[in-house]
Amino acid sequence: MYPKQEVVAMLLAGGQGSRLGVLTQKLAKPAVPFGGKYRIIDFPLSNCVNSGIDAVGVLTQYQPLVLNEYIGSGQPWDLDGNNSGVSVLSPYQQVKGADWYSGTANAIYQNINYIDRYNPDYVVILSGDHIYKMDYSKMIAEHKANNADCTIAVIDVPLAEASRFGIMNTNPDGSIYEFEEKPEKPKSTNASMGIYVFSYDKLRKYLIEDEETEGSSHDFGKDILPKMLEDGLRMFAYQFQGYWKDVGTIDSLWESNMDLLDPNVPLDLTDESWKIYSRNPVVPPQYIAEGAQVQNSLIADGCSISGSVDFSVLFSNVTVEPGAVVQDSIIMPGSVIKEGAVVQYAIVSENTVIGRNAVVGARPETIVDKDQWGIAVIGDNLKIGEGAKIAPKAMVAEDVEGVEE
């Protein structure tokens, strides 16, 4: 018998994140490196422990190796309890057959037995592709105060952007009377953050019903929530104030990293009371050599910098050789920027070597046709040859030969 947990969190981490291209070729989106030392999943996991949630199920499906290994026993997040902690839940074979997770709701449905053993009152559904710091216990407290069946976290977005989100239209008391999925003419600016609190008895019932419904896509947004609203369940919006960003695209991932460099952005990772935990590589401190120029940047231990780094985020063990220039870029662990290379507005994945005098990406002001401009992305474990040029917006998945000068 497992001791009762009042709250169980279920973290949806199975998404492929195809819009991140080469970055998610070999790993699931939640395992994508972020912010110089983290992976995206560190944010929801740390939020869980900081909110006092001790039981977290992580639902994985796509390319789980890196993610599973990273989560491991859950020890870095204090999620390695005797009878609780983090459990990686992948699709499995059952008596009646084997199935992949066919939708977000189906993924939870297939793991009802995991939730049941904790006999929780509430279940929090989270996704593994958002960067934010949030105290879920406040949201659960509001859920209780409203005597709600379901509470959906919403964030105020600019009206111009509202049509990209699921919009919750609410009554003055915060109860939801209507959902609009990506509306052309949004009635409000309350965008769903993809964070739900359910009273478990209700959720359980609806998951089982949904599973038996013909033609359902087994998705929270498309099936479960509309059905609950239709049935008149008590559904409330929870207003979240603070930094929140969906990092599902190259541009948003890049922007969110750059936000860490902006002192005016309310995402403070130095806050002792709400630490973001992660696995820490065993590396010596970073070394900034004579002649190096480093400004406006975030640099992790193990780096060795001899060139110039400005407005960039460098993960552990990155080498920037003398005369190399890194600007407005993200360089992931173990990559090397060789002498004289120039990397601008780019994301360079792990253990890649940018050869001497190679040029990766470009500043937007140097490009006439703005449609041709974008963040250049270089995959992991690649070699970009000497003097090679990688155009802005390029997505490089293979080695690039050097250019004779």
């Binding site: 973001i276 070394y287 975030l298 640099i299």
Partner: protein, 370 residues
């Protein structure tokens, strides 16, 4: 390979008197070093990297900081069901731990209950990356009873009772001089020994029964003629911290790329307690050159030839050069520091100027406000 029939013993509190400023609030093993480490991280990581699965850390008093640092031993992969880390404070009174010999005597039951064939014994005052497997290999090749790790260099200043060794052509120890006057390079014992566990127990028992309690004199010097005692020369970077200026220059030596490559190898990394700091933030107008900096710092000023530990803040317009600044120290704006060793949690307010000198760095003690 883990679990190789060798166990480790680390003396975590010896030689504190040589760096009394740094050890006022901590023992030798807990002295911060190199931006993110404590002295004990080096012997501990060396043992783990050499496949040693069982390490006893002996500590006499003031052991709060070392226990806090070591925790369960998880960071060194020594949190194990089978063996792992053993922190052994004195059983009832600290006089039992008054020197190496009595300390070993008081842990005899632990030694007797162990099953490993060999023991590595080391102090915490030497920074190095040594492979004890290699020491073991040489020990077996020589069919030795005892192998002493030594370094060929001029004696470190102020080193307590240095033992200078002489060898025959095969590396067998043929003379041991303790506290002798030697000039120039010599082969001095690094306080690291490789020995059969049962022989160690036998020698300690013998010395205790005769009340001859000086480990170097009564075991090494007294026995080298009766036993097969060999030397093992360690040639890597290995400063001994025997004074504040040694401490300072050992830190500064890390600016040398070759020394860092020697000390921090990816195959034999140096482990330390994890703190979950974010990467270091370099602000607008920051200027950093030739410095070793740990995660969690915020740098808005100028930093030159410095070691910055985790969580250090350098304010706008401040210039720090040739300094060792320990964790979580905050330095305000428009200051100027040169040749200063600043301990943990110090607050240096705006517009402060502190100047030391290479041979005599100024020291600011833990938690002070300047």
């Amino acid at each position: 390979m883990r679990g190789n029939n060798i166990m480790g013993i680390i003396f975590s509190n010896l030689h504190e008197d040589l760096i009394s400023e740094l050890t006022e609030v901590r023992i030798m093993g807990a002295v911060p070093f190199g931006g993110k480490y404590r002295m004990i991280d080096f012997p501990l990581s060396n043992m783990v990297n050499s496949g040693i699965n069982k390490v006893a850390v002996l500590t006499k008093s003031n052991y709060q900081s070392i226990i806090d640092h070591l925790g369960s031993g998880k960071a060194w992969d020594l949190s194990k069901k089978r063996n792992g880390l053993f922190i052994l404070p004195p059983f009832n009174n600290t006089s039992e731990y008054s020197n190496r010999m009595t300390t070993l005597n008081s842990i005899l039951p632990f030694l007797e209950n162990s099953t490993e064939e060999y023991v590595v014994i080391t102090d915490c005052d030497t920074i190095c990356n040594i492979d004890y497997q290699d020491v073991c290999r040489k020990h077996l090749e020589n069919n030795a009873d005892m192998t002493l790790v030594y370094k060929r260099a001029p004696l470190p200043e102020k080193l307590h009772d240095p033992a200078v060794l002489s060898f025959d052509s095969k590396g067998k120890v043929i003379d041991v001089l303790i506290n002798s006057n030697v000039n120039g390079s010599c082969s001095y014992y690094m306080n690291m020994m490789f020995i059969k566990r049962e022989l160690l127990i036998e020698l300690v028992n013998k010395c205790i029964s005769k009340n001859t309690l000086n480990f170097k004199r009564d075991i090494i010097q007294a026995e080298y003629k009766n036993l097969n005692v060999y030397g093992y020369e360690f040639k890597g970077f290995s400063p001994m911290i025997t004074s504040m200026s040694e401490y300072f220059s050992a830190n500064m030596a890390l600016m040398d790329q070759e020394i860092r490559a020697d000390l921090f190898t990816s195959d034999n990394p140096i482990y330390t307690k994890v703190r979950d700091d974010m990467p270091t933030k370099y602000g607008l107008g920051s200027k950093v050159t030739n410095s070793l900096i740990a995660n969690g710092c915020t740098i808005e000023g100028e930093v030159e030839n410095c070691i910055l530990f985790k969580g250090v803040h350098i304010g706008k317009g401040t210039k720090v050069s040739n300094c060792v600044i320990m964790q979580d120290t905050k330095i305000g704006a428009d200051g100027n520091l040169s040749y200063v060793i600043v301990d943990k949690d110090v607050t240096i307010k705006d517009e402060r100027t502190l100047m030391g000198f290479l041979s005599y760095p100024v020291y600011i003690s833990k938690g002070s406000v300047v």
